[in-house]
């Protein structure tokens, strides 16, 4: 009987693969037997004993793989060998991974993708600086998704990057849109001529979707990381990003989004605004407008206002559309449904800037506003798990995300809190954000719906109506699309706000116990 042998020199396959390949080889049509085994003397001895030995087998050593095929004809032997070799190749390709290539080191990736000019780094913070340094040395821009990097490392990296004309976005930078491509957490928005520089993830997302909603688009969205505007870091990346957008032909208007910078940094930013030839909208939440206006910038109190002004300045709106008055009838209806004791707002938020903006709007009317991220110690919650009067919780803050995924990915902590707040008879309205887009949960509303219904049930059993107000941050092009998520919330009896700003204004109006504000 014809026998063919293939000796794969120094060829190591794991035992599971060898067994699988041997089984498949023996199932091939029209062969008598196939043996797949290491070329040890003992195995060769067995091949001799069972009549499957041919001289070529002696070429194999113990570290070589033997494929021996016996078939009724030479021709079938030849084709069977080809088929079995193909099985081996398939196995190896599967092990290497189909589709995109993966590179285990930065150096390897740089070598294989020479056209790349940006690295996204997401490794534990203590190692991120090392990788970022390697990237800058390779003349690459850096987006640092990693957090827990020392401020000294951040300063050092940004200084080197600045000297080399490179951007270091971060650390703790989760959002960017460059060349129309969303990076990490970002929304699918139209390309346009509004450029954003932000030390704020969800704040920049909110401005980008507001601009999209107004018919505009985004040229670039550059994140700087939350500490960039601190005194120590000095706003290096915000300034460099503003200059980059100033030189970018696709950008007509620049929008800055952040908490108010340190005083020394604010002076630098204002000087840059003055020097910039393009209009700059400044949305420093909680900041003051005078200095911005004096520098020739355009101050926006809220993210909605920032988007509106950007559209006006880019010529898309002839005038700033007056802020739509709140729906008075709606407000009366909701107030009428709440008991006299239901006085407080509880904001349960995934986005830090969203939490900030809602807090700001509430604080314009109420003094007793507390949060886990309040800068003022008097309004900072002593126990982040215990709400107090008007409370706004940022579940994305470090204290909630240590060792846990971000609430945009894992909503379980927020859901637990929702049910606790629902049982509090002093709560009139609960405000929640649902953030869509790349990197977010595949169905943020769906995964929370049961808890929303349960929360309303808990309140109902206590003889109360509980108003749940939601804001869905996203566009119709995100997956899932915004309208689909809104539809689910409406079906569950949830009130919908059109923007973060709108949510803040509605929430504070719902619980007001005097005449309409």
């Amino acid at each position: 009987m014809p026998i063919k042998v293939v000796v794969r020199k120094g060829s190591y396959f794991d035992s599971v693969s060898l067994m699988s390949l041997s089984t498949k080889a023996n199932q091939l049509e029209g062969i008598t037997q196939a043996v797949v085994a290491m070329g040890t003397e003992m195995n060769k001895g067995v091949l001799r004993n069972v009549g499957l030995f041919v001289p070529e087998i002696d070429r194999a050593g113990s570290g070589d793989l033997l494929i021996v095929v016996a078939a009724p004809t030479e021709a079938r032997c030849d084709t069977a060998v080809i088929e079995i070799e193909a099985l081996f190749e398939q196995r190896q390709s599967k092990a290497r991974g189909a589709g995109d290539a993966r590179y285990a080191t930065l150096e390897s990736a740089v070598r294989h993708v020479p056209q790349a000019n940006l690295v996204i780094i997401s490794v534990p913070g203590e190692h991120a600086a090392r990788e970022a340094r390697k990237a800058i040395e390779s003349d690459l821009h850096v987006m640092l998704f990693s957090d827990n990097m020392s401020i000294d490392d951040e300063i050092s990296l940004k200084q080197v990057a600045h000297a080399n004309g490179l951007l270091v976005m971060g650390p703790d930078c989760g959002t960017a849109i460059l060349g129309g491509i969303g990076l990490c957490f970002a929304n699918k928005v139209r390309r346009g001529d509004v450029g954003i520089v932000a030390a704020s993830g969800t704040g920049s997302q909110e401005v980008s979707v507001r601009v999209h909603g107004l018919g505009g688009g985004i040229s670039q969205l550059i994140g700087t990381g939350g500490r960039d505007l601190s005194e120590k870091v000095g706003g290096v990346m915000m300034i460099d990003a503003m200059r980059a957008l100033g030189a970018d032909p696709a950008t007509a208007v620049i929008v800055l989004v952040s908490k108010p910078p340190a005083k020394s940094v604010e002076r630098k930013v204002l000087a840059e605004i003055e020097a910039c030839r393009k209009p700059v909208v400044v949305c420093f939440l909680g900041g003051s407008q005078d200095a911005v206006i004096q520098a020739g910038g355009h101050f926006a109190r809220t993210t909605s206002e920032a988007a509106l002004k950007a559209m006006q300045l880019s010529g898309k709106h002839e005038e700033v559309a007056p802020q739509e008055p709140l729906d008075a009838a709606l407000i009366e209806t909701v107030r009428g449904g709440l008991g006299s004791g239901q006085k407080f707002i509880r904001g349960l938020l995934c986005g830090g800037t969203i939490c900030d903006e809602l807090m700001l709007i509430a604080r314009e009317k109420y003094a007793n506003v507390y949060s886990n991220i309040a800068k003022d110690p008097e309004h900072r919650l002593q126990d982040i798990n215990q709400s107090r009067e008007h409370t706004f919780i940022d579940f994305g803050d470090d204290e909630f995300t240590r060792g846990r995924p971000h609430p945009m990915i894992d909503p379980s902590l927020r859901i637990e809190r929702l049910l606790r707040e629902a049982a509090d008879p002093s709560v009139g309205v609960i405000v929640m954000d649902f953030i869509l887009g790349f990197g977010a949960h595949e169905d943020p509303v769906g995964v929370t719906l049961a808890a929303i219904l349960q929360a309303r049930q808990i309140a109902a059993e206590g003889g109360r109506h509980l108003e749940i107000l939601a804001y869905v941050l996203g566009t119709g092009e995100d997956r899932p699309p915004r309208h689909e998520q809104i539809g689910k919330l409406v079906a569950a009896g949830v009130r919908i706000a059109d923007s973060c700003t709108h949510a803040g204004l509605l929430a504070r109006s719902f619980v007001a116990k005097e005449a309409r504000s």
């Binding site: 794991d14 035992s15 067994m19 290491m38 040890t40 003992m42 092990a95 993966r102 590179y103």
Partner: protein, 280 residues
């Protein structure tokens, strides 16, 4: 770089000793560094890549850097043979039942149904030679035992041939401190020392380590549970070993059982006799 698999890569030094980087889930073992996260199958690492290290990091062909700062040393448990045989006889019987029910055929365990001549003959040879080895050990025929042990090395299917895995299991038990038959180590270890190129580098590395009492943590745990543990402990430990490779785990368990069951010859565990694996 000696060889690359999805869950492990092997590095050979100038003396030919192998060291393994394993992804989590493979478990601790001799000369093995367990690394966080990824498997290796989709990396660019290839046999022949240079590997350099400075104590702080291991650089593999400039394709992978392993940071060693937080590495923790694993020390295998030292097992001591129980003073009293309880619960050993019952646990050995129980382990035999697990092997009969869950052992994977193709190596030491016969394959049922349609099977080729090679597979059938290999299994028959493995069982015969294992029985001859144990018989020789029981009769203190160390010369014969060495010969039969040598005849098992390199025999059988798999990356680590079944005969090699059987010997690893056998050695794991014989190395237990205060084992009444520790002298049986001598001919088996000598056979391995003379094995030379009788088997491939990877299997030889495992055999060499087993010859000096160093085996994977899962195997040590099984031996420990048979000597001192509960039925549930034995079952859990057995399934962890059975899950190794394709037939490797089964072949190791067969070796473990052979060592325990052969103690009947010196009356250490009355009531047991070495049995070949049941036909499936």
């Amino acid at each position: 770089m000696h060889s690359v698999f999805d869950k492990a890569i092997n590095i050979g030094d100038a003396r030919g000793e192998l060291f393994t980087l394993a992804s989590r889930g493979v478990g601790n073992g001799p000369n093995t560094l367990v690394v966080d996260g990824m498997g290796f199958g989709a990396t660019d690492i290839a046999a022949g890549d240079a590997v350099n290290g400075d104590g702080r990091a291991l650089d593999v062909g400039s394709r992978l850097t392993v940071l060693l700062a937080n590495a923790q040393t694993w020390v295998g448990a030292v097992l001591i043979y129980p003073g009293s045989d309880d619960p050993v006889p019952a646990n050995v019987e129980y382990l035999r039942g697990i092997l009969d029910q869950h052992g994977r055929p193709g190596g030491m365990v016969e394959e049922g149904g349609r099977t080729g001549d090679f597979a059938r003959v290999v299994t028959a040879l493995l069982k015969d030679r294992a029985a001859l080895l144990v018989d020789a050990l029981q009769r203190a025929d160390f010369h014969g035992a060495g010969r039969h042990a040598r005849s098992m090395i390199g025999l059988g299917p798999g990356l680590t041939p079944s005969g090699d895995d059987f010997l690893v299991g056998l050695l794991a038990v014989l190395h237990v401190a205060d084992h009444p038959c520790r002298a049986w180590l001598v001919p088996v270890a000598a056979a391995i020392a003379q094995a030379g190129t009788s088997t491939n580098d990877i299997s030889f590395a495992a055999l060499s380590m087993a010859a000096v009492g160093r085996v994977r943590e899962a195997i040590t745990a099984l031996v420990g549970d048979v000597m001192h543990g509960t039925r549930q402990g034995v079952a859990e430990a057995a399934h962890r070993v059975l899950a190794i490779g394709s037939t490797s785990g089964t072949d190791v368990v067969t070796g473990v059982l052979a060592a325990f069951e052969s103690l009947v010859s010196i009356g250490s565990i009355p009531g047991l006799a070495f049995k070949s694996s049941a036909r499936r």
